[in-house]
């Protein structure tokens, strides 16, 4: 059934989230064992996993969760104390459930049942012997719903039951309307109902909220006695129910026509039904009156304080973003065409469309933004595990968790960040003894922070470890022939050598890092996100690695320029100003291209030359001065056309090595403009 697939997909999603919450809660409890709220959160999460697991057929997961729940229940009521053993065990259990989910999903290998049994045995071991464990097999099989499903082998003979229902006067307060019982019985076969009104008091003494009626029913049915009993399963405490099996049908038939002494004669069904209905109508009307006064329609005049979310499959979102992108392009074209037509009405409409398209674009792009805190949270566990594995003491501090990033960027940042943190712990932070000796606090600190800067997101990983040794790195780089022996290269550039493939200055290789394999992958990933890595370090004090990434991959705010017939786009955020310049005024100082702008020296790149564009230089050129990594640089072009915002079209693998061009965009008239990566241009200046 297609629908059940949908529920199962939702179950996977939900359980993944719950498991992540489990990890958080456990780590919180570890830091603060008195945190009852965290214990409750933990218990509820496991409880939900158990419940929904069994609902959707994941019985093994549900059973396993049951054992964890039992242990947690005992933690909740204080019988089992919070200990490192407990924390570790819960974490292991959580991992186990994750593995079981992956197996069920086809995303992971089959789990070893013995491991599961071991975990369960350990969990049980935590419980003191005098603590009662909730028995797993005490599922009451006699739930009402079981009886409601038609019995398998229906007794073919009809039987007649005489049933007396005498409800408590307060039965309505339970939400039960006795007429429901009558309906249930009527569903099972032919029914003759007689209502007794003897106990109904005078109007003055009558309370409309009480039930004074009782009923006698003759039911002819093929259903079993148990099935009949099950009708009353909810009201066993609030009604007096008497069920008697009457003689075989033949005898009963006789009984219905011939008056029997001592027995209440069941009259023709119709009349009684009418009586019943009237009675129940009266009662129901009384009951319903207050309810009927309420609105039937459901306008939410109250805003619920709970924020609601909707889960959307990623590909639908991608499709939406593509469409919005196309819309933006075409709206730009519309604006351009409309500007050539002098019509105020048209102009107004087009302006409004431009405004709306802009809003739509912003809203849609915003949908994909998620706080980086989600990723940061995962690292708490990582740091804990790694520190103990490597015998270091490390504390993780996070800042700027609310900083939002495009979801795709966030996902791709996972691995690089993990690797960088690993590196910090493995190679940066010194062992506690060493730290003490050098006067540092025993516990090392790693600060993970994120923030917005312009249209970029800046993420940094800073440790207070031993820092990078410039000389060692320089030597290694010279050894491998990457840099010439006596070159004067600023420290910052030396540091980035560690990002080169195969680069490693450690003589040992640990299982965690040191093979020189990871950092170049980090570099490539960051570059593929059109970002940059900066490294700064002070020996003995620590290292800071900074990642700078664009906020979104999809749309760019750019400045459109042209040289001859070629159009280019420069990222607008980095643009500071545009200056008109006569070609003869451009100077060369010491062979380098530098321009004097109001007394400041600004180096420049003449794109015409850089890109070998044929044609003669115009007399008047324009220079676009940008600020790239705190350095100013100018780009000389023929004309600056204006601000241009549009969707970035990737150029594809054929242009992968053309780093100066980060993509292309389509202008309003269909021309293709190339988007320039100012960082790359600057570096190769």
């Amino acid at each position: 059934m297609n629908e059940s697939n949908r529920f199962i997909a939702e179950f996977y999603n939900e359980t993944e989230e719950l498991l992540s919450g489990v990890e958080d809660a456990v780590l919180d409890i570890e830091e603060n064992p008195g945190d009852q709220e965290a214990v409750n959160r933990l218990f509820r999460a496991i409880h939900t996993i158990k419940g929904s697991g069994s609902m959707f057929g994941f019985d093994t997961i549900s059973e396993f969760a049951h054992h964890v729940e039992t242990a947690l229940d005992n933690v909740r009521n204080g019988t089992v104390p919070v200990s490192k053993a407990l924390i570790d065990l819960i974490l292991v259990s959580r991992d186990r459930i994750t593995a079981m989910l992956a197996e069920a999903n086809g995303a992971g290998p089959p789990v070893d049942p013995r491991e599961g049994e071991q975990i369960i045995a350990s969990l049980k071991g935590l419980l003191r012997s005098d603590v009662a464990e909730v028995p797993v097999d005490e599922f009451p099989k006699d739930g009402p719903e079981k009886a409601c499903v038609p019995d398998a082998p229906a007794p073919q003979n009809e039987a007649v039951y005489r049933i007396r229902i005498s409800p408590d006067p307060d039965i309505f307060a339970m939400g039960m309307d006795p007429v429901m019982l009558l309906y249930d019985l009527a569903d099972m076969g032919a029914c003759s109902v007689m209502v007794h009104t003897e106990k109904v008091p005078d109007l003055e003494n009558l309370s409309p909220e009480s039930c004074y009626l009782f009923w006698d029913i003759l039911l002819t049915t093929t259903k079993s006695l148990n099935a009949v009993r099950d009708v009353f399963i909810f009201v066993e405490d609030t009604c007096e129910i008497v069920i008697e099996t009457v003689e075989e049908k033949a005898a009963a038939l006789e009984a219905s026509t011939v008056p029997r002494s001592g027995d209440i004669l069941a009259e023709c069904g119709d009349i009684h039904k009418k009586v019943i209905d009237e009675e129940s109508d009266t009662l129901s009307k009384e009951r319903l009156k207050p309810a009927q006064k309420e609105q039937k329609v459901v306008p939410q005049t109250h805003k619920s304080a709970v924020a609601s979310t909707v889960r959307v499959p990623s590909d639908r979102l991608d499709k939406l973003i593509n469409l919005v992108g196309e819309l933006v392009i075409n709206q730009a074209r519309l604006t351009q065409v409309a500007s050539n037509i002098n019509d105020t009405h048209l102009g107004e409409s087009v302006e409004e469309i431009e405004r709306l398209t802009g809003e739509l674009r912003d809203s849609v792009l915003n949908i994909r933004m998620m706080p980086i805190g989600i990723t940061f949270n995962k690292f708490r566990r990582l740091v804990r595990d790694l520190s103990s594995q490597l015998h270091k003491e490390v504390e993780l501090i996070t800042k700027g968790a609310e900083t939002e990033l495009d979801k795709t960027v966030l996902e791709r940042l996972d691995d690089p960040l993990v690797h960088l943190i690993r590196n910090s712990i493995d190679h940066g932070v010194e062992p506690p003894e060493v730290r003490e000796r050098t006067g540092k606090p025993k516990k090392g600190t790693i600060i993970l922070s994120a923030g917005h800067k312009g249209t970029n997101v800046v993420i940094s990983i800073q440790d207070d470890g031993k820092g990078l040794n410039v000389e060692t790195i320089r030597k290694k780089a010279v050894e491998t022939g990457v840099i010439p022996e006596n070159a004067e290269i600023p420290d910052k550039k030396i540091f980035t050598q560690i990002l080169a493939p195969g680069f490693s200055t450690t003589s040992e290789v640990t299982s965690v890092s040191g093979r020189g394999v990871g950092l170049d992958v980090v570099k490539r990933t960051i570059e593929s996100l059109r970002g940059r890595i900066d490294i700064d370090s002070v020996p003995g004090e620590g290292t800071k690695i900074t990642l700078i990434l664009p906020l979104t991959l999809a749309i760019i705010n750019g400045l459109l320029v042209n040289i001859e017939d070629d159009f280019f786009v420069l990222p607008l955020m980095s643009v500071e100003e545009c200056v008109e310049i006569k070609s003869k005024e451009i100077e060369t100082i010491n062979g380098r291209n530098i321009l004097n702008v109001r007394g400041n020296m600004v180096p420049y790149i003449r794109l015409r030359d850089r890109f070998h564009i044929a044609g003669r230089r115009p007399e008047v050129e324009h220079i676009v001065i940008t600020n790239v990594n705190d350095s100013r640089i100018g780009f000389v072009v023929d004309h600056v056309i204006g601000g241009h915002q549009t969707v970035i079209k990737p150029l594809g693998p054929a242009f992968r090595y053309n780093k100066e061009i980060s993509g292309a965009t389509i202008l309003g008239d269909g021309t293709v403009a190339l988007i320039l990566d100012t960082n790359v241009l600057l570096e190769s200046a």
Partner: protein
Amino acid sequence: MSVQGITQTSQYLTFKLDNEIYAMDITTVREVLDITQITKVPQMPDFMCGVINLRGSVVPVVDLRLKFGLEKAASLREACIVIIEIILDDEETVLGILVDSVQEVISLEPEQIDPPPRIGTRLKTQFIKGMGKKDKEFIIILETAKVFSAEELAVVQTTDDIPMPETPGGTTAENENDD
């Protein structure tokens, strides 16, 4: 005599380059366009003439003449861009091929195709799937996967001081850049 690998009658799109007839398996061909504005991309080898706007997508265009070491076309009057779909680095990519003119779609049976000659053509043998013969004319059937492979297309041209990733594969003797 037939060619290994060609076991059934297939359809091919034929086109001309410098008066020779070439062909490509029709299954890779998406569409054929008249020549249109090509935006040049700097720092690329000559045979990568640039990119075009194909209904909102940016598609790179290869000048097949230059790729095969021929001279640049004198006239682009009848020139067409053949849009093909290939796998480049495990990614499905759309590519445009600039040719002198496009002829027609023909069917060739395996018996009509001979294996490529070892000598006598300026093309590398691996670029040629086979030699077809129709109406007394020879048709050079291209092995598109080889002609437009990642190594053949993504050639690096850069002068940075800090090392870039190494040039993949080898630049072929093919790329005699005539200027």
